[in-house]
């Protein structure tokens, strides 16, 4: 039986003046799978992500989350519906601790005071569940490695109720070891049933991680393909201007 998509977009369009950043984009994403979105600069990836996270309002089209249709989302609504975005800059407060970052904006309070004990305890549990290796949750985030910082940003997305996690360039500017750790975390999340959408320019990584690949060009979803049914050369060809192969042209 085919998986029911958790997130569906249909005929999504967004223009900035006379520039069409998104043109009738269609896309499905399921829980427990990793969907990679690839495309050249200006292909519409960022616009699509910002629309899904509620930062941008589409001109037309429908976004369906878990069976419920919306003309547009707000950041709060997207979060409530389990769509959380981990931006490339990670949005971490580098001067604060691991647990302070994980609970940023969603702190527990008791009689008006911060309930630090509960937040520390839940952070330890969350990191353990996600198999994230950070020895000291009192560590200042700015002192941690890129991989650990990415893991904290992902853990925060999960903590905020994320069911579909959008990761924008999750391993940009990371070393080999850190990249491997983040990729392991992403696979782990998919195995635990979370839906993952990654935006990446790293074609090798896309093939290592994803179940499906969405190719975007000039605001259009050019093709949505099973990763196993396509080669890296074919994907690159589509990105740079060749024709869609082996997949469904949207």
């Amino acid at each position: 039986m085919e998986k029911q998509p958790y997130l569906q977009i249909r005929q999504l369009t967004k223009s900035f003046g006379h520039i069409e950043a998104l043109r009738n984009a269609n896309l499905d994403a399921c829980q427990g799978e990793i969907l990679a979105i690839v495309g050249d600069n200006g292909a519409g990836k960022s616009t699509l992500i910002k629309t899904l996270s509620g930062a941008l309002t589409p001109d037309s089209g429908v976004i369906t989350i878990n069976g419920q249709a919306y003309a547009h989302l707000t950041p709060k609504l997207a979060e409530e519906k389990g769509i959380t975005t981990v931006y490339q800059d990670l949005s971490l407060v580098n001067t604060q601790t691991v647990w302070e970052n994980i609970f940023l904006g969603h702190e527990y309070r008791r009689l008006g005071w911060l309930n630090k004990k509960k937040m520390r305890r839940e952070t330890a549990e969350l990191l353990k569940r996600l198999h994230v290796s950070i020895q000291d949750q009192e560590a200042i985030v700015g002192h941690l490695s890129g991989g650990q910082r990415q893991a904290i940003a992902v853990a925060r997305a999960i903590r905020q109720g994320g069911k579909m996690i959008i990761l924008d360039e999750p391993t940009a500017a990371m070393g080999f070891k850190e990249t491997a750790a983040v990729q392991k975390l992403i696979r782990n999340l998919a195995d635990q049933g979370y839906g993952i959408i990654i935006i990446s320019h790293n074609i090798q990584q896309v093939f290592e991680l994803s179940n499906r690949i969405c190719v975007m060009r000039q605001g259009e979803v050019l093709a949505l393909l099973d990763t196993k049914s396509v080669t890296a050369d074919e994907i690159v060809s589509m990105i740079v201007g060749g024709t869609a192969v082996n997949g469904v042209k949207q």
Partner: protein, 327 residues
């Protein structure tokens, strides 16, 4: 379980020591200073002198508490000295025009809060640099004080007003008690409340806080309003203590407040701050000034020495901050 608790406790302790390093260093410096002065001056350890130090420190401490939150949030408030002066003048004008003491005090405190909030609104909503904004309000509020007084001090107030500067609460006086009370409240707010945590988060990464769904403009405005409130309280104490509202009162006090916050471990780039550090820094500066006076060091040299000590301490703090960033 026992092992886990022990490990967690160790981690918490290590983090506390690491984070409090500037305050520990400053406390050691204060203790050394006290030791030197107690050996070189027979008057230094007298209770009267100790009370005098706390009394002299109280206005700076109150201004520094508000400044600590502003600097933690990545801002700066150059207008606090002038707001203090203006609020003192407004209290005096209101009381001399027949208003009762407490309504006049409350109205002036409200004006202090409103002036701070105006700073916050301009900085948050019109997005003008805090330095420029508060530089402008510093000039405006000083101008208001001069216009209201015609450049001449207003003096002579009722005993109920003067009590706030010269009264007694047990062995202490109202300025000391008020400043210590505000220090305790500020400490709890910064360490234990959402507002305190968001003040620090704003300075650490305002965009991250905004993306987390926090209405950062409201927090920023309220932080400047609190700074204005602290300045107004300082104005109340200064006016009551001297039984006189001088239009130029509080000039350059903002510099002492900024110095105390940075000495106490706050970073001018925001994201860090310690109320305990601010308290120790204010005491240290007051002890230093007091000691220099007791040792009969001429006033001009006192300025030179105090400025030099502040500069050295700030260089040490900055070197440590740079090292942390490279870590």
């Amino acid at each position: 379980m026992k092992q886990y608790v022990t490990k967690e406790a160790k981690s918490l302790f290590a983090a506390m020591i690491n984070r409090s390093f500037p305050q520990i260093l400053l406390t050691l410096a204060l203790l050394i200073l006290i030791l030197i002065l107690s050996l070189t001056s027979e008057y230094f350890l007298a209770w009267k002198n100790f009370r005098n130090i706390l009394d002299q420190c109280s206005v700076y401490l109150i201004l520094s508490l508000g400044m600590a939150f502003v600097i933690a949030s990545g801002g700066i408030d150059l207008s606090v000295g002038s707001i203090a002066g203006m609020c003192g003048v407004i209290m005096a004008v209101l009381m001399h025009s027949g208003m009762q003491t407490y309504p006049a005090i409350l109205l002036s405190l409200g004006i202090g809060i409103a002036t701070g909030a105006v700073n916050g609104v301009i900085i948050s909503l019109i997005r003008i640099n805090p330095f420029i904004t508060t530089l402008a309000t510093m000039t405006i509020t000083r101008g208001i004080a001069l216009v209201l007084t015609g450049g001449v001090s207003i003096y002579g107030f009722e005993q109920s007003f003067k009590w706030w500067g010269t009264g007694n609460i047990g062995p202490l006086n109202p300025p000391i008690v008020l400043s210590l009370l505000l220090t305790l409240v500020s400490f709890l707010i910064m360490r234990r409340t959402l507002w305190g945590k968001y003040s620090l988060s704003l300075g650490g990464n305002a965009e991250a806080l905004r993306r987390s769904g926090v209405r950062i403009n409201l927090y920023r405005i309220s932080i400047y309003a609190v700074s204005g409130f602290c300045a107004a309280i300082a104005g109340l104490i200064m006016t009551a203590r001297l039984n006189s509202a001088a239009p130029l009162a509080g000039s350059t006090y903002e510099m002492d407040a900024i110095a105390a916050v940075v000495l106490g471990g706050g970073s001018l780039s925001g994201g860090s701050g310690s109320i305990f550090g601010v308290f120790i820094a204010c005491i240290t500066l007051s002890v230093l000034r007091n000691g220099l006076t007791l040792l009969s060091i001429p006033t001009y040299f006192q300025q030179l020495i105090t400025g030099g000590v502040i500069l050295i301490a700030i260089i040490i703090a900055q070197l440590r901050s740079n090292r942390d960033r490279l870590h």
